[in-house]
């Protein structure tokens, strides 16, 4: 009896479910996100929750509004070159019965997504419409237009219509457009499109959403909940695909890249995933974040992280006309002394040769241990608008730049550094003399409490007018424990003053900032304006333009440069995560 009842009950249940199984495949309506039907092998997944809102943000952005108000933009829109595009758009809108903005809002109302699948090698744009009929009409119109010749008549269809399990698809040579109910997919692989349709209809237990890494990544991205777009990247898969690339093996043979980004290479070697997000309001925010574990840090990269991963960048000195500043925790001596463990034989040989030459300039001191070792960890590179005398102004005006560090024992090392500077200027003068170039005259002075040694070019002829050399007056400055190596005397003096009077600060709620960079758009724009004539000359040669055409292009560049107010980048790493945050502020 018990057994019969069970069999009967099972039969009733199956009969009851049969209509719904035939009428509506399981999972079709339940898939709220493509993560539910994308395969587990998905390597990259980008979600734009509200594309229409993002387009609104772009179009209503003050910078875009200003560009649209520019006469040049209005001329471009009104030009004959632009007319075909506008006519085509108007025709398209007429055919679909709504504006493209309305069509976008409706047909991506459920989100717009990008996915790259390592399993099929396919990439797909996936969208979800709020209105199946409108989506059908939109895609139908787009396909009809693709068959239309220049004369407006329908010609041969460049695609083949296919149907798969209720999904309609148009297959072109290089890509497939498919629609299933309110979902649409554009992909380069038909196989990938079929897999997605299968998963939408049948559902799958092995979806992207079911993957541990993805779940952790979604949790990790909680701070990006207001982002306009979020990307999830499976780094395990990326490492398999790019196993031969140094970048995924946690090493580079480029010393400059090692110094700047060595720690990030450790992350790429070990982290299971990365999350990137974009947020656009008045400012543009970009961020990249991964988990991080202390075990991942290469033991030879203490120079990058500091002990216990708490290396903190020094507070930056910011001159009044600073263009850019990058301040970073780097123990340069530790980096230099670890070179044998970080690079291949060729690089080691080159660095060893440099070590010998530099040791000569530094009177036989060991360059790594004694010279670089005299510096505290942490260094700032600052770039500022240059200043010139009326007599010696270069035609091409380069910004001034300087390196700022702190000395462990200023009293002991200062005389050594001063002698080394004099030696370097002496050697440079010999070379300049042999080339018939202007030579450097040295000067030593006390400005406030700072001791400055500088060298400036001595010129006594009209032939030297406008020379590139006039951008430089190499200098060193000592101010307390601060050591400044600068391309110009004026910048050295200003930095020495700031070291005492306005040493700056660098804070991030409870976390150590490893590296911080700032770019000032206003000063950058001023440098471009100062070099307008040089930019025009370069444009003439590189583009083959007349002066009038070159002026037009460079002035347009200057207009765009004026929109960039400030760019800020912070790199933060601790025991649990690595964050790279970029903020771009635009001016009025």
């Amino acid at each position: 009896m018990y057994q019969r009842l069970n069999l009967y009950s099972l039969l009733v249940v199956m009969l009851g479910l049969l209509p719904s199984l035939l009428a509506k495949p399981a999972g079709a309506q339940e898939s709220a996100s493509p993560a539910d039907f994308l395969p587990a092998t998905t390597a990259v997944y980008v979600a734009v929750a509200d594309p229409a809102a993002l387009i609104d943000s772009v179009e209503n952005h003050p910078v875009i509004q200003e560009i649209q108000a520019m006469p040049e933009y209005k001329d471009l829109i009104a030009s004959p070159d632009f007319a075909p595009a506008l006519i085509g758009l108007a025709f398209f809108e007429n055919q679909i019965g709504e504006s493209w903005r309305e069509a976008l809002a409706t047909n991506t109302g459920g989100g717009l997504y990008l996915a790259v699948d390592a399993g099929t090698g396919g990439a797909a744009v996936i969208g979800k419409s709020n209105d199946e009929a409108k989506l059908r009409r939109l895609l139908g119109t787009a396909l009809a237009l693709s068959s239309m010749g220049p004369d407006g008549q329908q010609g041969d269809k460049p695609y083949e219509v296919k149907e798969y399990r209720g999904a309609k698809a148009a297959s072109f040579d290089d890509f497939v457009v498919a629609r299933y109910e309110t979902w649409f997919v554009v992909t380069n692989k038909g196989e990938f499109a079929k897999l997605l349709v299968d998963n939408i209809i049948d559902g799958t237990d092995d979806s992207l959403a079911s993957q541990d890494w993805f779940g952790e990544a979604v949790e990790h991205s909680a701070s990006a909940e207001n982002a306009d777009a979020v990307a999830f990247i499976n780094l395990e898969t990326a490492r398999v695909l790019g196993e031969s690339e140094d970048i995924f093996r946690g090493r580079t043979d480029n010393p400059a890249i090692e110094l700047m980004f060595g720690g990030i290479l450790d992350t790429l070697k070990h982290a299971p995933y990365a999350v990137a997000s974009l947020e656009l309001e008045d400012d543009l925010g970009l961020s990249l974040s991964t988990p991080f574990e202390s075990d991942w840090a290469n033991e030879h990269r203490r120079f990058f992280y500091g002990s216990d991963l708490n290396g903190s960048a020094p507070a930056p000195l910011m001159p009044e006309n600073a263009v850019a500043s990058i301040t970073s925790y780097r123990d340069i001596a530790d980096w230099w002394l670890s070179k044998e463990d970080l690079y291949d034989e060729n690089v080691i040989a080159q660095l060893a040769q440099a070590d010998t030459q530099l040791s000569t300039i530094f009177s036989g001191m060991d360059f790594g241990q004694e010279v670089l070792g005299a510096l505290q960890p942490g260094v700032q590179i600052v770039v500022a608008e240059n200043t010139f005398s009326e007599d010696y102004s270069p035609d091409v005006k380069l910004p001034a730049f300087a390196m700022v560090g702190k000395l462990k024992d200023p009293g002991a090392i200062q005389p050594r550094l001063k002698i080394a500077f004099q030696s370097a200027i002496g050697v440079t003068n010999l070379q300049l003399g042999m080339q018939g170039q202007p030579q450097l005259a040295m000067d030593t002075e006390q400005v406030g409490s700072a001791k400055i040694s500088s060298a400036s070019y001595f010129v006594d002829g009209e032939d030297a007018e406008g020379l590139l050399l006039f951008n430089f007056s190499p200098s060193i400055a000592f101010q307390g424990e601060y050591f400044i190596l600068s391309s110009t005397r004026d910048l050295a003096v200003e930095l020495a003053w700031l070291a005492v009077n306005d040493p700056g600060s660098l804070e991030e709620a409870g976390r150590s900032i490893n590296t911080s960079m700032q770019i000032d758009g206003g000063t950058l724009e001023q440098i471009l304006i100062d070099n307008r004539e040089s930019l025009i000359a370069n444009n003439m040669i590189e583009e083959g333009n007349t002066r009038a055409a070159a002026e037009e292009q460079i002035d347009a560049l200057l207009v765009f440069a004026a929109f960039l107010k400030e760019t800020k980048l912070d790199y933060i790493v601790d025991e649990s995560r690595m964050d790279l945050d970029v903020t771009v502020r635009f001016g009025d």
Binding site: P394, D395, V396, Q435, G436, Q437, D460, G461, D463, A464, G466, L467, L468, E533, S534, I536, A537, N538, M540, I541, E542, E543, G544, N545, T546, R547
Partner: protein
């Protein structure tokens, strides 16, 4: 093509050309004049020259005053690109000048003098000095020769290139004295080793100090020098004057002008060069006067001259861009020209470029065709595109090949080639570029 120098009568060769029934003034002759005296003409310029006639066209070509604004713009750009030591950017700047100049004869003559007073930017390693020399050649391109040689004799780039930065009376430097006679003024065989030694003494004390020319009176030999039949306490300027008084001097320059502007496939005899040399002597070596005599002569407009020069790489590229009113990245173009053997400001040696048949060899034939193909596909056309250029110049599918032949080629193409190319002519950009590439690969297109 198999012609002999003996077919040319030196007595009548330099008579002014008079259009006749046998040799009427035509599109072909107008195009020939602009190819040689300029870097070719656009269809409009050639048509205008045909309407104006040879005399008025030459008047226009020799009018160098028409470029004041252009000169100012280019002077600024030249100064800015020569801020550093590397002269490669300056090469690109000069190519731009050649493409855009409203006075092309000036640039053609500057190129001529650059080959004559060859100086290489790699050795000089001072782009300001190279720019000054380039401007010097331009300023003196059609003036009297003697002041130009005197200026060149104290030009920093020249002296550095010829290892003549230092010349002391106790050990006279013979380098410049030798090149003055062999390369600049007389040619080999017209002086002795003793002449070189004596002229070297004239230039003692002429030196380069801190990037500038300097006369050091303490190092100048004030003794008597005897050379080329003259004797006295001469200095460098005197030496230049005495050298140019030699009978061989005028013939040497005349021969070089004829070879550059008329033909380079025959040796030029003394008899043929002499009438031009006489003009030089009669006008204190006025180059403009001698050149005008050459460019308006019967010989210049005869079949002995038309198509009897091979385009140099610079003429090939600049001529293409000018004809199609197009432009391109001049730095990339200068790199390509270096591969073809003629990067301006970087001649192969002190003798400059040999020119003539040396421009063509197994590798450069292909590279020249590739250059034209690349320009046809990637240059920026003022009309927007090649097909729009064809449309605005009244060129259609039916007469495209005939127009290309008439305006672009120095000699007619074989009938079979014409038929084959006609089949390729279409009015879209891809086909237009393909047609131009085909024309660019023709042997006839390589002729100037």
């Amino acid at each position: 093509m198999n012609r002999q120098l003996s077919e040319i009568d030196p007595q009548t060769a330099w008579q002014p050309y008079r259009p006749s029934a046998e040799n009427p003034w035509s599109t072909r002759l107008a195009a020939h004049l602009l190819r040689r005296a300029a870097f070719g003409g656009t269809i409009t310029e050639i048509s205008r020259a045909e309407s104006a006639g040879p005399s008025e066209t030459l008047d226009r070509l020799f009018d160098l005053e028409a470029a004041a604004d252009f000169e100012k713009e280019m002077a600024t750009a030249g100064r800015l690109v020569s801020s550093g030591a590397d002269s490669r950017a300056l090469s690109a700047w000069w190519l731009l000048r050649m493409v855009q100049t409203p006075v092309p004869l000036q640039e053609k003559m500057t190129l001529f003098w650059h080959g004559h007073f060859a100086t290489g930017g790699d050795k000089v390693n001072d782009s300001r000095a190279m720019l000054r020399q380039n401007n010097l050649l331009r300023d003196h391109c059609l003036t009297e020769f003697q002041p130009l040689v005197r200026e060149i004799s104290c030009d920093v780039a020249t002296l550095i290139y010829l290892d003549s930065e230092d010349n002391r009376k106790t050990r006279p430097n013979e380098n410049y004295a030798r090149e003055l006679m062999e390369l600049f003024c007389l040619g080999p065989g017209n002086y002795t080793e003793q002449d070189i030694k004596e002229i070297a003494r004239c230039f003692t004390g002429w030196e380069v100090r801190r990037g500038r020319f300097n006369f050091n009176p303490y190092q100048h030999d004030e003794g008597t020098k005897a050379f080329l039949g003259a004797s006295g306490d001469f200095d460098g300027n005197d030496a230049v004057g005495i050298v140019l008084e030699q009978p061989a001097a005028a013939r040497f320059i005349a021969r070089k002008l004829i070879r550059f502007f008329v033909f380079d496939d025959l040796e030029i005899s003394d008899e043929l060069a002499e009438p031009v040399a006489v003009r030089l002597r009669e006008t204190s070596f006025n180059i403009g006067s001698a050149l005008r005599m050459i460019l308006e002569s019967e010989l210049f407009f005869s079949e002995h001259a038309i198509g009897h020069k091979i385009k140099s790489p610079v003429e090939l590229a600049v001529g293409f861009l000018h004809f199609f009113n197009a432009t391109t990245n001049m730095q990339q173009l200068s790199d390509r020209l270096a591969g073809l053997g003629q990067l301006p400001l970087y001649p192969p040696n002190v003798k400059g470029w040999d020119g003539g048949k040396t421009w063509i060899n197994a590798s450069t034939v292909l590279a020249r065709a590739n250059l034209i193909n690349e320009l046809a596909n990637n240059a920026t056309f003022a009309d927007g595109s090649l097909s729009q250029w064809a449309s605005s110049n009244g060129m259609s599918e039916s007469d495209g090949v005939e127009m290309a032949e008439e305006f672009l080629l120095a000699t007619p193409m074989p009938e079979e080639t014409r038929r084959k190319i006609s089949g390729e002519l279409r009015s879209n950009d891809v086909q237009s570029a393909r047609l131009i590439a085909l024309v660019g690969a023709l042997p006839e297109f390589q002729l100037n």
